[in-house]
Symmetry: C2
């Protein structure tokens, strides 16, 4: 049912890469002095396979779903907040609504499996797999067929949209629990180091979440105390969520189609983790917007070798961090395309200008 | 001649501060989950003394001047680059031109003392104190009268402009040397830890810069091996630059008029350092855009207790980092003003919602 899209790794030693570096080094600034902006410009040039890339019709995709595990009390908020926040996204009052409006990002909320039947509204795409996952403390969160279906739906959501950028965000009460379980299953990091306070659990709430996730872990992923070897898709089905699976599919399709992927926070990064286990080259197409306040995120980013743009203690989700950094990414492209060269501006070069820096 | 403007410290325990925190905590997100965006929103609300602040007519001010000390070979670039880059700023080909255009920032280049006579052009304000400072390895960089004149000019540049935000940037071949000397004179940090590679000195160039700055230091600021006590204005006159002095004046006036100040990189931060020694409350009005790749900047920010928004290895100056972060600051205000509350959006609150978080 789900056929994983092929992804071409970026050629960082290619002729184009040299051309992009040369272009950056001839601009009216000391070589490398725009730091991270230069590495972003290089990455986007390589993704688009051109010296003067353009960012076209960026798509802010927010995947929403409910989690059966929420019944075990792993969140500070009641499960109905998932559906209520979807309404808030569409009404324009949520953080992601404000940020998407500020930057002119096309915002689509995808109902990946919310426990509520929405009527059709502009900006909402209904791709509901079920009314929430099953409670993974009792059984697998989804069937293998549901998992495949969700991955495929994520692909299709991207395929059906124009442009060359996707920004990935999510909403789902209980989904930091699901992301922590996936992280523990697919990295060498211990489960305890993957679990955080989510939307803001207090000490007692955190202790309860840890106990619940240990129970889930023992049911699905531990073998006499050590980790079993779950395949990425087994882990996704047993421990994941519909919104996470759809983000995984969306990322794979976006990278296949050479679109830039802007990854929001902990849960979106967990979806990318699953995607990298299927197609490692997907990482070449990703920009990690920020390191969130959710405690497992820093270690997860380090595991992936991802270098986040911001470290602001954001922990909201919704794609808010991805939308927030959008103008920074746009700046990298503007600078690459619009800056004058030393020659064209008549600016004197370095006193030792025969030495071209090897930066960035 | 220069009368230092009065600055009112922000009242972080005021009723308004409580109102702003309450407003942020009632928005449809877990309290504190927008991290740094919430502290920015709080700061801007306090600066403007209102619950719904607005950012009006942000002024990107780039102060340019030459440095007599450049003759001693403290930069990788020849001194004529200062004037050439001013032309480039005005022609639209420099990084700051691109970023100001992207964000609709009014860009003004102030000739604070460039060694070149510009003709009048839109976007250029001529406030030239002299054709560059004197060589501070031989004598004070400027006279006390020139220093006062530059501070006053910086005040006036801000006074003459509308709006409630100033973004401070600079251009001046040799000015990381001047900033390092000011940092050493006005903080407990040793001179050697204040000196960096500027626009990209190699090892030999850095060694030469260190030797030159030690000579300057011994001439003006050391007394039998330990630091003398230079007053802030003595340090500014002996070691500073016209663009640095004007930025100091601009910051003091901006804070006096309750404008937000967005500080670019190492040199702009050195100007703020001088300002804080005159009026400590100026810091309440500052946002530090980024921690630059120039090696002294991190320690200088730590000395000031400033928490930079980005850590991207930028080291260009021109105000480029300040302009880059502009939309992030705008986001903080949009979110504060436009997000729905739990009540207005009909979203269920925390399960333990009687406990209002004390964040941010």
């Amino acid at each position: 049912m789900f056929e994983c899209p092929e992804i071409t790794p970026l050629q960082t030693q290619s002729e184009l890469s040299q051309q992009l570096k040369h272009k950056l080094n001839r601009q009216t600034k000391p070589p490398g002095s725009l730091g991270r902006l230069e590495s972003l410009a290089l990455q986007i040039g390589l993704i688009q396979n051109r010296e003067s890339p353009e960012l076209i019709a960026p798509q802010m995709l927010v995947f929403a779903a409910d989690h059966g595990l929420a019944a075990q009390g792993v969140s500070a908020y009641p499960a109905e907040v998932t559906a209520q926040m979807v309404q808030n996204f569409l009404s324009g009052g949520a953080a992601i609504s404000v940020l998407a409006r500020q930057h002119g990002l096309a915002l689509t909320v995808i109902d990946a499996g919310v426990k509520f039947d929405f009527s059709h509204r502009p900006g909402l795409e209904i791709r509901k797999i079920a009314h929430g996952t099953q409670d993974s403390s009792l059984m697998p969160a989804m069937t293998d067929a549901q998992c495949q279906h969700a991955l495929q739906a994520g692909c299709e959501v991207v395929q059906q949209r124009s442009g060359n950028v996707v920004l990935l965000g999510e909403m789902g009460i209980g989904n930091t629990a699901s992301a922590a379980l996936l992280m523990a299953a697919l990295t060498p990091i211990a489960l305890a180091d993957c679990i955080g306070r989510g939307t803001g659990l207090d000490e007692a709430g955190l202790a309860r979440k840890v106990a619940v996730l240990q129970k889930v872990w023992h049911l699905h992923a531990s073998l006499q105390g050590s980790k079993t070897v779950l395949t990425p898709l087994q882990a996704l089905a047993k421990l994941g969520g519909f919104e996470i699976a759809m983000m995984t599919g969306a990322a794979l399709q976006a990278a296949h189609a050479r679109r830039l992927i802007v990854v929001d926070g902990f849960i979106a990064t967990a979806a990318i983790l699953v995607a990298t286990k299927l197609k490692p080259a997907v990482l070449d197409y990703c920009v990690f917007a920020h390191c969130s306040g959710e405690s497992g995120h820093r270690a997860l980013l380090a595991h992936l070798g991802g270098s986040p743009l911001l470290d602001w203690g954001l922990r909201l989700g919704e794609g808010s961090g991805a939308a927030l950094v959008w103008p920074l990414i746009a700046s990298a492209v503007h600078l690459l395309n619009e800056m004058a060269s030393f020659e064209s501006a008549g600016v004197s070069d370095r006193l030792d200008s025969s030495v071209e820096s090897n930066k960035p």
